[in-house]
Protein backbone atom coordinates (compact mmCIF):
# COMPACT_ATOMS: atom_id res chain seq x y z
CA UNK A 1 0.00 0.00 0.00
CA UNK A 2 2.64 2.50 1.08
CA UNK A 3 4.96 1.35 -1.70
CA UNK A 4 2.27 1.95 -4.28
CA UNK A 5 1.61 5.36 -2.81
CA UNK A 6 5.27 6.39 -2.99
CA UNK A 7 5.57 5.08 -6.53
CA UNK A 8 2.57 7.09 -7.69
CA UNK A 9 3.87 10.12 -5.87
CA UNK A 10 7.25 9.96 -7.60
CA UNK A 11 5.63 9.57 -10.98
CA UNK A 12 3.73 12.84 -10.52
CA UNK A 13 6.03 15.66 -11.55
CA UNK A 14 3.93 18.35 -9.90
CA UNK A 15 3.92 16.54 -6.59
CA UNK A 16 7.71 16.26 -6.70
CA UNK A 17 8.08 19.97 -7.44
CA UNK A 18 5.73 20.75 -4.59
CA UNK A 19 7.49 18.57 -2.05
CA UNK A 20 10.89 20.01 -2.98
CA UNK A 21 9.55 23.55 -2.60
CA UNK A 22 8.18 22.71 0.84
CA UNK A 23 11.45 20.98 1.70
CA UNK A 24 13.51 24.04 0.75
CA UNK A 25 11.24 26.42 2.67
CA UNK A 26 11.17 24.36 5.82
CA UNK A 27 14.91 23.73 5.79
CA UNK A 28 15.43 27.48 5.41
CA UNK A 29 13.33 27.96 8.52
CA UNK A 30 14.87 25.03 10.38
CA UNK A 31 18.51 25.82 9.68
CA UNK A 32 18.19 29.60 9.72
CA UNK A 33 20.97 30.09 12.32
CA UNK A 34 23.43 28.50 9.89
CA UNK A 35 22.17 30.33 6.82
CA UNK A 36 21.75 33.92 7.89
CA UNK A 37 24.79 36.22 7.78
CA UNK A 38 23.74 38.31 10.83
CA UNK A 39 21.88 37.65 14.07
CA UNK A 40 18.27 38.81 13.58
CA UNK A 41 18.33 41.02 16.67
CA UNK A 42 21.82 42.45 16.15
CA UNK A 43 21.66 46.24 15.78
CA UNK A 44 24.18 48.31 13.92
CA UNK A 45 23.19 51.94 14.13
CA UNK A 46 25.91 53.02 11.70
CA UNK A 47 24.29 51.02 8.94
CA UNK A 48 20.64 51.89 9.35
CA UNK A 49 18.14 52.12 6.47
CA UNK A 50 20.56 50.85 3.82
CA UNK A 51 19.55 49.74 0.36
CA UNK A 52 20.26 46.17 -0.69
CA UNK A 53 23.97 45.46 -1.18
CA UNK A 54 26.29 42.46 -1.11
CA UNK A 55 26.81 42.95 2.62
CA UNK A 56 23.10 43.24 3.34
CA UNK A 57 21.22 41.26 0.68
CA UNK A 58 17.92 43.03 1.32
CA UNK A 59 19.19 46.15 3.08
CA UNK A 60 18.73 47.10 6.73
CA UNK A 61 15.89 48.52 8.83
CA UNK A 62 15.75 51.67 10.98
CA UNK A 63 17.84 50.07 13.74
CA UNK A 64 20.44 48.71 11.35
CA UNK A 65 19.25 45.11 11.58
CA UNK A 66 19.88 42.95 8.52
CA UNK A 67 16.56 42.43 6.78
CA UNK A 68 17.52 39.22 4.99
CA UNK A 69 18.35 37.55 8.30
CA UNK A 70 15.14 38.83 9.83
CA UNK A 71 13.12 37.58 6.90
CA UNK A 72 14.57 34.08 7.19
CA UNK A 73 14.13 34.07 10.97
CA UNK A 74 10.64 35.48 10.64
CA UNK A 75 9.63 32.54 8.48
CA UNK A 76 10.17 30.34 11.55
CA UNK A 77 7.59 32.17 13.60
CA UNK A 78 5.13 32.60 10.76
CA UNK A 79 5.36 28.97 9.67
CA UNK A 80 4.97 27.84 13.27
CA UNK A 81 1.87 29.99 13.71
CA UNK A 82 0.47 28.76 10.41
CA UNK A 83 1.04 25.06 11.07
CA UNK A 84 0.10 24.95 14.74
CA UNK A 85 -3.05 27.02 14.26
CA UNK A 86 -4.12 24.89 11.32
CA UNK A 87 -3.37 21.67 13.19
CA UNK A 88 -5.60 22.78 16.04
CA UNK A 89 -8.35 23.81 13.65
CA UNK A 90 -8.07 20.62 11.59
CA UNK A 91 -8.02 18.23 14.54
CA UNK A 92 -10.88 19.99 16.27
CA UNK A 93 -12.98 20.51 13.14
CA UNK A 94 -12.51 16.94 11.96
CA UNK A 95 -13.39 15.49 15.33
CA UNK A 96 -16.51 17.63 15.77
CA UNK A 97 -17.58 16.95 12.20
CA UNK A 98 -17.12 13.18 12.51
CA UNK A 99 -18.90 12.94 15.84
CA UNK A 100 -21.70 15.22 14.76
CA UNK A 101 -22.30 13.41 11.47
CA UNK A 102 -21.95 9.89 12.84
CA UNK A 103 -24.04 10.13 15.98
CA UNK A 104 -26.69 12.50 14.66
CA UNK A 105 -29.74 13.31 16.82
CA UNK A 106 -29.28 15.76 19.69
CA UNK A 107 -25.49 15.60 19.55
CA UNK A 108 -25.60 16.71 15.94
CA UNK A 109 -28.11 19.48 16.48
CA UNK A 110 -26.31 20.87 19.55
CA UNK A 111 -22.92 20.88 17.86
CA UNK A 112 -24.26 22.37 14.65
CA UNK A 113 -26.07 25.17 16.48
CA UNK A 114 -22.76 26.05 18.12
CA UNK A 115 -21.16 26.05 14.68
CA UNK A 116 -23.99 28.28 13.43
CA UNK A 117 -23.31 30.79 16.17
CA UNK A 118 -19.59 30.82 15.48
CA UNK A 119 -20.13 31.05 11.73
CA UNK A 120 -22.13 34.24 11.90
CA UNK A 121 -19.69 35.75 14.34
CA UNK A 122 -17.18 37.92 12.51
CA UNK A 123 -14.11 35.85 13.36
CA UNK A 124 -11.76 38.77 13.41
CA UNK A 125 -13.81 40.54 16.08
CA UNK A 126 -13.59 37.42 18.25
CA UNK A 127 -9.86 37.02 17.69
CA UNK A 128 -9.18 40.69 18.40
CA UNK A 129 -11.17 40.54 21.60
CA UNK A 130 -9.52 37.41 22.97
CA UNK A 131 -6.03 38.52 22.04
CA UNK A 132 -6.50 42.01 23.46
CA UNK A 133 -7.83 40.67 26.75
CA UNK A 134 -5.27 37.93 27.11
CA UNK A 135 -1.62 38.65 26.56
CA UNK A 136 -0.65 39.07 22.91
CA UNK A 137 2.05 36.45 22.49
CA UNK A 138 2.70 33.76 19.93
CA UNK A 139 1.07 30.95 21.93
CA UNK A 140 -2.19 32.83 22.44
CA UNK A 141 -2.24 33.91 18.81
CA UNK A 142 -1.89 30.32 17.60
CA UNK A 143 -4.52 28.98 19.98
CA UNK A 144 -7.04 31.69 19.18
CA UNK A 145 -6.62 31.42 15.42
CA UNK A 146 -6.88 27.64 15.71
CA UNK A 147 -10.02 27.64 17.80
CA UNK A 148 -11.84 30.19 15.65
CA UNK A 149 -11.26 28.64 12.26
CA UNK A 150 -12.50 25.07 12.66
CA UNK A 151 -16.18 25.72 11.96
CA UNK A 152 -16.18 25.53 8.16
CA UNK A 153 -14.24 22.27 8.20
CA UNK A 154 -16.57 20.76 10.81
CA UNK A 155 -19.50 21.49 8.51
CA UNK A 156 -17.76 19.90 5.52
CA UNK A 157 -16.70 16.77 7.41
CA UNK A 158 -20.16 16.39 8.91
CA UNK A 159 -21.73 16.50 5.46
CA UNK A 160 -19.35 13.88 4.09
CA UNK A 161 -19.80 11.68 7.16
CA UNK A 162 -23.57 11.82 6.80
CA UNK A 163 -23.35 10.36 3.32
CA UNK A 164 -20.63 7.80 4.10
CA UNK A 165 -22.16 6.35 7.24
CA UNK A 166 -25.03 4.90 5.22
CA UNK A 167 -22.68 2.98 2.91
CA UNK A 168 -22.27 -0.78 3.03
CA UNK A 169 -18.70 -0.83 4.29
CA UNK A 170 -19.71 0.95 7.46
CA UNK A 171 -22.56 -1.50 7.91
CA UNK A 172 -20.04 -4.30 7.39
CA UNK A 173 -17.69 -2.80 9.95
CA UNK A 174 -20.55 -2.51 12.40
CA UNK A 175 -21.71 -6.08 11.90
CA UNK A 176 -18.15 -7.30 12.39
CA UNK A 177 -18.47 -5.81 15.85
CA UNK A 178 -15.87 -3.07 15.56
CA UNK A 179 -15.89 -0.45 18.28
CA UNK A 180 -17.23 2.99 17.46
CA UNK A 181 -13.86 4.80 17.68
CA UNK A 182 -12.41 2.22 15.31
CA UNK A 183 -15.18 2.76 12.80
CA UNK A 184 -14.85 6.53 13.14
CA UNK A 185 -11.11 6.84 12.80
CA UNK A 186 -10.12 3.85 10.68
CA UNK A 187 -13.06 3.52 8.32
CA UNK A 188 -14.80 6.88 8.08
CA UNK A 189 -11.83 9.21 8.45
CA UNK A 190 -9.82 7.97 5.43
CA UNK A 191 -12.88 8.45 3.25
CA UNK A 192 -13.52 12.04 4.30
CA UNK A 193 -9.86 13.05 4.15
CA UNK A 194 -10.00 14.93 0.82
CA UNK A 195 -11.81 18.08 2.01
CA UNK A 196 -9.76 18.02 5.21
CA UNK A 197 -6.49 18.15 3.30
CA UNK A 198 -7.69 20.91 0.98
CA UNK A 199 -8.93 23.08 3.82
CA UNK A 200 -5.72 22.50 5.78
CA UNK A 201 -3.46 23.59 2.92
CA UNK A 202 -5.48 26.75 2.35
CA UNK A 203 -5.68 27.33 6.10
CA UNK A 204 -1.93 27.72 6.63
CA UNK A 205 -1.81 30.79 4.40
CA UNK A 206 -4.90 32.24 6.03
CA UNK A 207 -3.50 31.74 9.53
CA UNK A 208 -0.28 33.52 8.56
CA UNK A 209 -2.39 36.37 7.14
CA UNK A 210 -4.46 36.66 10.31
CA UNK A 211 -1.32 36.68 12.41
CA UNK A 212 0.16 39.42 10.26
CA UNK A 213 -2.97 41.55 10.49
CA UNK A 214 -2.89 41.11 14.27
CA UNK A 215 0.76 42.12 14.32
CA UNK A 216 -0.15 45.06 12.15
CA UNK A 217 -2.56 46.27 14.83
CA UNK A 218 0.13 45.66 17.44
CA UNK A 219 -1.52 42.55 18.88
CA UNK A 220 0.41 39.71 17.26
CA UNK A 221 3.89 38.40 17.92
CA UNK A 222 5.63 41.18 19.81
CA UNK A 223 8.75 42.94 18.54
CA UNK A 224 11.74 42.56 18.54
CA UNK A 225 10.96 38.94 17.60
CA UNK A 226 10.85 38.94 13.82
CA UNK A 227 7.57 37.60 12.49
CA UNK A 228 6.36 38.17 8.98
CA UNK A 229 3.77 40.55 10.33
CA UNK A 230 6.07 42.99 12.12
CA UNK A 231 5.74 46.50 10.86
CA UNK A 232 8.17 48.87 9.16
CA UNK A 233 10.51 47.85 6.38
CA UNK A 234 10.55 44.17 7.23
CA UNK A 235 6.80 44.21 6.94
CA UNK A 236 6.62 45.17 3.28
CA UNK A 237 9.34 42.72 2.43
CA UNK A 238 7.59 39.85 4.14
CA UNK A 239 4.31 40.74 2.54
CA UNK A 240 6.04 40.58 -0.84
CA UNK A 241 7.51 37.20 0.05
CA UNK A 242 4.17 35.96 1.28
CA UNK A 243 2.38 37.35 -1.77
CA UNK A 244 4.74 35.62 -4.18
CA UNK A 245 4.66 32.28 -2.42
CA UNK A 246 0.90 32.32 -2.08
CA UNK A 247 0.39 33.32 -5.70
CA UNK A 248 2.75 30.50 -6.67
CA UNK A 249 0.75 28.15 -4.49
CA UNK A 250 -2.54 28.98 -6.22
CA UNK A 251 -1.17 29.00 -9.74
CA UNK A 252 0.60 25.74 -8.99
CA UNK A 253 -2.51 24.11 -7.57
CA UNK A 254 -4.48 25.14 -10.64
CA UNK A 255 -1.89 23.36 -12.83
CA UNK A 256 -2.12 20.08 -10.95
Amino acid sequence: MLKLYIKRFIQNKFALWGISFIFILSSLALFSPFIVPYAPLEQNLLERLQSPSILHLLGTDDLGRDLFSRLIYGSRISLTVGFVAVSIATLFGTFIGLVSGYFGKWIDSTLMRIVDILLCFPTFFLILMVIAFLEPNILNVMIVIGFTSWTGLARLVRGETLSFKEREFILAAKSLGLSTPKILFFHLLPNVSAPILVSATLGVGNAILIESSLSFLGLGVQPPIPSWGNRKRLYSLCMVAFFISRALHFIYSSCV
Binding site: F133, S236, F243, R246
Partner: protein
Protein backbone atom coordinates in the same frame (compact mmCIF):
# COMPACT_ATOMS: atom_id res chain seq x y z
CA UNK B 1 -43.56 33.36 2.41
CA UNK B 2 -44.73 35.58 5.27
CA UNK B 3 -44.98 32.67 7.68
CA UNK B 4 -41.55 31.45 6.62
CA UNK B 5 -40.14 34.90 7.26
CA UNK B 6 -41.71 34.89 10.70
CA UNK B 7 -40.23 31.48 11.48
CA UNK B 8 -36.81 32.58 10.33
CA UNK B 9 -36.99 35.72 12.43
CA UNK B 10 -37.83 33.52 15.42
CA UNK B 11 -34.74 31.36 14.87
CA UNK B 12 -32.65 34.52 14.83
CA UNK B 13 -33.35 35.01 18.51
CA UNK B 14 -31.49 31.98 19.93
CA UNK B 15 -28.57 32.65 17.59
CA UNK B 16 -28.40 36.25 18.72
CA UNK B 17 -28.59 35.12 22.35
CA UNK B 18 -25.77 32.65 21.78
CA UNK B 19 -23.56 35.28 20.25
CA UNK B 20 -24.10 37.83 23.01
CA UNK B 21 -23.55 35.11 25.61
CA UNK B 22 -20.24 34.14 24.01
CA UNK B 23 -19.10 37.76 23.87
CA UNK B 24 -20.03 38.24 27.49
CA UNK B 25 -18.28 35.05 28.54
CA UNK B 26 -15.02 36.02 26.86
CA UNK B 27 -15.09 39.43 28.48
CA UNK B 28 -15.75 38.01 31.93
CA UNK B 29 -13.26 35.14 31.78
CA UNK B 30 -10.43 37.41 30.70
CA UNK B 31 -8.07 38.41 33.49
CA UNK B 32 -8.21 41.99 34.72
CA UNK B 33 -11.08 44.42 34.99
CA UNK B 34 -12.05 47.44 32.92
CA UNK B 35 -11.67 49.62 36.00
CA UNK B 36 -7.96 48.72 36.23
CA UNK B 37 -7.14 51.23 33.57
CA UNK B 38 -8.58 54.09 35.62
CA UNK B 39 -7.55 52.90 39.05
CA UNK B 40 -4.12 51.33 38.70
CA UNK B 41 -2.61 54.24 36.81
CA UNK B 42 -3.97 56.75 39.27
CA UNK B 43 -1.94 56.88 42.46
CA UNK B 44 -4.54 59.00 44.26
CA UNK B 45 -7.23 56.38 43.78
CA UNK B 46 -8.01 54.76 47.12
CA UNK B 47 -9.19 51.18 47.53
CA UNK B 48 -12.54 52.50 48.63
CA UNK B 49 -12.99 54.55 45.49
CA UNK B 50 -11.98 51.53 43.46
CA UNK B 51 -14.68 49.42 45.06
CA UNK B 52 -17.18 52.21 44.56
CA UNK B 53 -16.36 52.36 40.88
CA UNK B 54 -16.67 48.59 40.50
CA UNK B 55 -20.04 48.75 42.19
CA UNK B 56 -21.15 51.66 40.04
CA UNK B 57 -20.49 49.66 36.91
CA UNK B 58 -22.18 46.63 38.41
CA UNK B 59 -19.00 44.59 38.11
CA UNK B 60 -19.09 43.31 41.69
CA UNK B 61 -21.86 40.81 41.06
CA UNK B 62 -21.34 37.32 39.61
CA UNK B 63 -21.30 37.31 35.85
CA UNK B 64 -24.47 35.28 35.15
CA UNK B 65 -26.43 37.92 37.04
CA UNK B 66 -24.66 40.67 35.13
CA UNK B 67 -25.57 38.98 31.88
CA UNK B 68 -29.16 38.64 32.97
CA UNK B 69 -29.27 42.32 33.90
CA UNK B 70 -27.81 43.18 30.52
CA UNK B 71 -30.46 41.08 28.75
CA UNK B 72 -33.22 42.72 30.76
CA UNK B 73 -31.98 46.13 29.70
CA UNK B 74 -31.59 44.99 26.12
CA UNK B 75 -35.27 44.05 25.95
CA UNK B 76 -35.95 47.77 26.37
CA UNK B 77 -33.31 48.56 23.72
CA UNK B 78 -31.12 50.02 26.41
CA UNK B 79 -27.49 49.10 25.78
CA UNK B 80 -26.23 50.89 28.86
CA UNK B 81 -23.65 53.65 29.07
CA UNK B 82 -20.07 53.67 27.93
CA UNK B 83 -17.46 53.25 30.68
CA UNK B 84 -15.27 55.73 28.90
CA UNK B 85 -17.34 58.85 28.45
CA UNK B 86 -20.65 57.90 30.07
CA UNK B 87 -22.61 58.44 26.86
CA UNK B 88 -25.39 55.98 25.99
CA UNK B 89 -23.95 53.15 23.91
CA UNK B 90 -26.84 53.27 21.49
CA UNK B 91 -25.96 56.88 20.56
CA UNK B 92 -22.33 56.00 20.09
CA UNK B 93 -23.20 53.13 17.79
CA UNK B 94 -25.90 54.92 15.85
CA UNK B 95 -23.63 57.82 14.96
CA UNK B 96 -21.05 55.40 13.60
CA UNK B 97 -23.39 52.89 11.98
CA UNK B 98 -24.29 54.80 8.77
CA UNK B 99 -20.63 55.18 7.83
CA UNK B 100 -20.00 51.45 8.25
CA UNK B 101 -23.16 50.51 6.40
CA UNK B 102 -22.19 52.83 3.55
CA UNK B 103 -18.71 51.33 3.34
CA UNK B 104 -19.95 47.74 3.44
CA UNK B 105 -22.84 48.36 1.08
CA UNK B 106 -20.63 50.05 -1.50
CA UNK B 107 -17.95 47.39 -1.42
CA UNK B 108 -20.54 44.62 -1.48
CA UNK B 109 -22.22 46.06 -4.56
CA UNK B 110 -18.84 46.58 -6.19
CA UNK B 111 -17.88 42.97 -5.47
CA UNK B 112 -21.19 41.67 -6.76
CA UNK B 113 -21.24 43.62 -10.05
CA UNK B 114 -17.59 43.19 -10.91
CA UNK B 115 -17.41 39.53 -9.91
CA UNK B 116 -20.46 38.63 -11.96
CA UNK B 117 -19.25 40.58 -14.98
CA UNK B 118 -15.76 39.09 -14.82
CA UNK B 119 -16.94 35.58 -14.04
CA UNK B 120 -19.59 35.49 -16.74
CA UNK B 121 -17.42 36.94 -19.47
CA UNK B 122 -14.62 34.57 -18.55
CA UNK B 123 -16.99 31.60 -18.66
CA UNK B 124 -18.59 32.64 -21.95
CA UNK B 125 -15.20 32.86 -23.61
CA UNK B 126 -13.42 30.06 -21.82
CA UNK B 127 -9.75 29.80 -22.66
CA UNK B 128 -9.60 33.20 -24.36
CA UNK B 129 -7.12 35.87 -23.39
CA UNK B 130 -9.66 37.60 -21.12
CA UNK B 131 -10.25 34.35 -19.25
CA UNK B 132 -6.54 33.76 -18.74
CA UNK B 133 -5.91 37.34 -17.66
CA UNK B 134 -8.74 37.32 -15.14
CA UNK B 135 -7.62 33.94 -13.82
CA UNK B 136 -4.21 35.44 -13.16
CA UNK B 137 -5.80 38.51 -11.60
CA UNK B 138 -7.91 36.31 -9.38
CA UNK B 139 -4.89 34.39 -8.11
CA UNK B 140 -3.06 37.62 -7.44
CA UNK B 141 -6.10 38.96 -5.63
CA UNK B 142 -6.36 35.78 -3.57
CA UNK B 143 -2.78 35.93 -2.46
CA UNK B 144 -2.20 39.60 -1.76
CA UNK B 145 -2.46 40.58 1.92
CA UNK B 146 -5.10 43.29 1.59
CA UNK B 147 -4.19 45.49 4.52
CA UNK B 148 -0.67 45.71 3.15
CA UNK B 149 -2.12 46.63 -0.23
CA UNK B 150 -4.13 49.31 1.56
CA UNK B 151 -0.93 50.79 2.92
CA UNK B 152 0.75 50.72 -0.48
CA UNK B 153 -2.23 52.41 -2.13
CA UNK B 154 -2.26 55.05 0.59
CA UNK B 155 1.40 55.76 -0.06
CA UNK B 156 0.92 55.80 -3.83
CA UNK B 157 -2.29 57.83 -4.18
CA UNK B 158 -2.17 59.82 -0.98
CA UNK B 159 1.48 60.74 -0.63
CA UNK B 160 3.28 60.21 -3.93
CA UNK B 161 0.60 61.42 -6.32
CA UNK B 162 -1.43 63.36 -3.79
CA UNK B 163 -4.66 62.58 -5.56
CA UNK B 164 -6.74 61.06 -2.78
CA UNK B 165 -7.13 61.74 0.94
CA UNK B 166 -5.75 58.89 3.00
CA UNK B 167 -7.96 58.93 6.06
CA UNK B 168 -11.36 59.79 7.46
CA UNK B 169 -14.60 60.33 5.60
CA UNK B 170 -14.71 64.11 5.29
CA UNK B 171 -12.31 66.93 4.66
CA UNK B 172 -11.79 69.66 7.25
CA UNK B 173 -13.76 72.22 5.26
CA UNK B 174 -16.67 69.81 4.72
CA UNK B 175 -19.27 72.12 6.27
CA UNK B 176 -18.52 74.95 3.84
CA UNK B 177 -19.08 72.89 0.71
CA UNK B 178 -22.29 72.75 -1.29
CA UNK B 179 -24.13 69.50 -1.87
CA UNK B 180 -22.29 68.39 -5.00
CA UNK B 181 -18.91 69.21 -3.53
CA UNK B 182 -19.86 67.31 -0.37
CA UNK B 183 -20.73 64.22 -2.39
CA UNK B 184 -17.49 64.51 -4.34
CA UNK B 185 -15.52 64.93 -1.13
CA UNK B 186 -17.01 61.82 0.41
CA UNK B 187 -16.53 59.86 -2.78
CA UNK B 188 -12.84 60.74 -2.78
CA UNK B 189 -12.51 59.58 0.80
CA UNK B 190 -14.40 56.37 0.12
CA UNK B 191 -12.58 55.34 -3.01
CA UNK B 192 -9.56 53.69 -1.40
CA UNK B 193 -11.27 51.85 1.48
CA UNK B 194 -14.09 50.60 -0.74
CA UNK B 195 -11.82 49.30 -3.46
CA UNK B 196 -9.46 47.61 -1.02
CA UNK B 197 -12.33 45.99 0.84
CA UNK B 198 -13.91 44.88 -2.41
CA UNK B 199 -10.73 43.16 -3.47
CA UNK B 200 -10.91 40.82 -0.47
CA UNK B 201 -14.01 39.13 -1.79
CA UNK B 202 -13.86 39.88 -5.49
CA UNK B 203 -11.33 37.23 -6.43
CA UNK B 204 -13.16 34.33 -4.82
CA UNK B 205 -16.58 35.38 -6.03
CA UNK B 206 -15.44 35.90 -9.62
CA UNK B 207 -13.90 32.45 -9.60
CA UNK B 208 -17.08 30.85 -8.24
CA UNK B 209 -19.22 32.71 -10.76
CA UNK B 210 -17.04 31.40 -13.54
CA UNK B 211 -17.22 27.76 -12.47
CA UNK B 212 -20.92 27.91 -11.66
CA UNK B 213 -21.56 29.55 -15.04
CA UNK B 214 -19.50 26.91 -16.84
CA UNK B 215 -21.53 24.20 -15.19
CA UNK B 216 -24.80 25.79 -16.25
CA UNK B 217 -23.62 26.34 -19.82
CA UNK B 218 -23.26 22.58 -20.24
CA UNK B 219 -26.91 21.93 -19.37
CA UNK B 220 -29.46 20.72 -21.89
CA UNK B 221 -31.73 23.73 -21.65
CA UNK B 222 -28.88 25.98 -22.76
CA UNK B 223 -28.43 23.82 -25.83
CA UNK B 224 -32.17 24.06 -26.42
CA UNK B 225 -32.07 27.83 -26.08
CA UNK B 226 -29.24 28.01 -28.58
CA UNK B 227 -30.96 25.54 -30.90
CA UNK B 228 -34.09 27.59 -31.11
CA UNK B 229 -31.94 30.41 -32.44
CA UNK B 230 -31.70 32.79 -29.49
CA UNK B 231 -28.93 35.33 -29.59
CA UNK B 232 -25.88 34.32 -27.58
CA UNK B 233 -26.28 37.36 -25.39
CA UNK B 234 -29.82 36.39 -24.52
CA UNK B 235 -28.79 32.81 -23.79
CA UNK B 236 -26.10 33.93 -21.40
CA UNK B 237 -27.81 36.78 -19.61
CA UNK B 238 -31.34 35.44 -19.49
CA UNK B 239 -31.17 31.67 -19.38
CA UNK B 240 -27.80 30.84 -17.93
CA UNK B 241 -27.30 33.77 -15.59
CA UNK B 242 -30.26 33.18 -13.31
CA UNK B 243 -29.33 29.57 -12.77
CA UNK B 244 -25.71 30.35 -12.14
CA UNK B 245 -26.71 32.90 -9.54
CA UNK B 246 -27.74 30.51 -6.78
CA UNK B 247 -24.32 29.38 -5.50
CA UNK B 248 -23.14 32.98 -5.76
CA UNK B 249 -25.87 34.15 -3.42
CA UNK B 250 -24.88 31.48 -0.91
CA UNK B 251 -21.31 32.66 -1.04
CA UNK B 252 -22.37 36.25 -0.65
CA UNK B 253 -24.22 35.37 2.54
CA UNK B 254 -21.16 33.57 3.87
CA UNK B 255 -18.88 36.47 2.97
CA UNK B 256 -20.82 38.92 5.06
CA UNK B 257 -19.24 38.18 8.46
CA UNK B 258 -15.83 38.30 6.84
CA UNK B 259 -16.59 41.65 5.28
CA UNK B 260 -17.90 43.13 8.53
CA UNK B 261 -14.95 41.63 10.39
CA UNK B 262 -12.74 43.19 7.75
CA UNK B 263 -14.08 46.62 8.63
CA UNK B 264 -12.31 46.30 11.99
CA UNK B 265 -8.97 46.29 10.17
CA UNK B 266 -9.74 48.63 7.31
CA UNK B 267 -11.50 51.25 9.37
CA UNK B 268 -8.53 51.30 11.69
CA UNK B 269 -6.07 51.60 8.80
CA UNK B 270 -8.00 54.36 7.05
CA UNK B 271 -9.03 56.11 10.29
CA UNK B 272 -12.57 55.75 9.01
CA UNK B 273 -15.22 56.92 11.48
CA UNK B 274 -17.21 53.69 11.51
CA UNK B 275 -18.37 51.02 13.90
CA UNK B 276 -15.33 48.83 13.30
CA UNK B 277 -13.00 51.46 14.64
CA UNK B 278 -15.31 52.18 17.56
CA UNK B 279 -15.17 48.46 18.29
CA UNK B 280 -11.40 48.37 18.08
CA UNK B 281 -11.12 51.31 20.46
CA UNK B 282 -13.63 49.70 22.79
CA UNK B 283 -11.61 46.48 22.80
CA UNK B 284 -8.42 48.33 23.58
CA UNK B 285 -9.97 50.30 26.45
CA UNK B 286 -12.17 47.44 27.66
CA UNK B 287 -15.36 49.38 27.31
CA UNK B 288 -17.67 46.44 28.07
CA UNK B 289 -21.07 48.05 27.34
CA UNK B 290 -19.86 49.41 23.99
CA UNK B 291 -18.33 46.04 23.13
CA UNK B 292 -21.53 44.18 23.96
CA UNK B 293 -23.50 46.68 21.92
CA UNK B 294 -21.24 46.34 18.92
CA UNK B 295 -21.14 42.55 19.20
CA UNK B 296 -24.94 42.46 19.18
CA UNK B 297 -25.17 44.91 16.33
CA UNK B 298 -22.62 43.12 14.16
CA UNK B 299 -24.24 39.74 14.80
CA UNK B 300 -27.65 41.18 14.01
CA UNK B 301 -26.42 42.66 10.73
CA UNK B 302 -24.81 39.36 9.76
CA UNK B 303 -27.93 37.37 10.53
CA UNK B 304 -30.03 39.87 8.63
CA UNK B 305 -27.69 39.57 5.66
CA UNK B 306 -28.00 35.78 5.71
CA UNK B 307 -31.77 36.06 5.84
CA UNK B 308 -31.67 38.45 2.89
CA UNK B 309 -29.54 35.98 0.95
CA UNK B 310 -32.18 33.31 1.59
CA UNK B 311 -34.88 35.63 0.33
CA UNK B 312 -32.83 36.35 -2.78
CA UNK B 313 -32.79 32.62 -3.56
CA UNK B 314 -36.51 32.69 -4.11
CA UNK B 315 -36.13 35.66 -6.45
CA UNK B 316 -33.41 33.97 -8.49
CA UNK B 317 -35.09 30.58 -8.62
CA UNK B 318 -38.88 30.40 -8.51
CA UNK B 319 -38.66 26.65 -7.89
CA UNK B 320 -37.50 27.40 -4.37
CA UNK B 321 -40.54 27.95 -2.18
CA UNK B 322 -40.41 28.68 1.48
CA UNK B 323 -43.01 27.26 3.77
Amino acid sequence: MASYLFKRLLTLLPLLLGITFLTFLIMQLAPGKPTDLITDLNAKMSLEAKQKLTKLYGLDRPWPIQYWEWLKRLSKFDFGKSFKDDRPVIHKILERLPATLLLNFLSLSLIFTLAILIGMTAAAKKGALFDKLTTLFVYLGFSIPTFWLALLLMILFGLKIGLLPISGLRSLNFEELNFLQKAWDMLQHLLLPVSVMALTGLAALARYTRSSMLEVLHQDYIRTARAKGLKEREVIFKHAFKNALIPIITLLGLMLPELIGGSFIFETIFAYPGMGRLGFEAIMSRDYPVLMGIGTMVAFLTLLGNLLADMLYALADPRIRYK
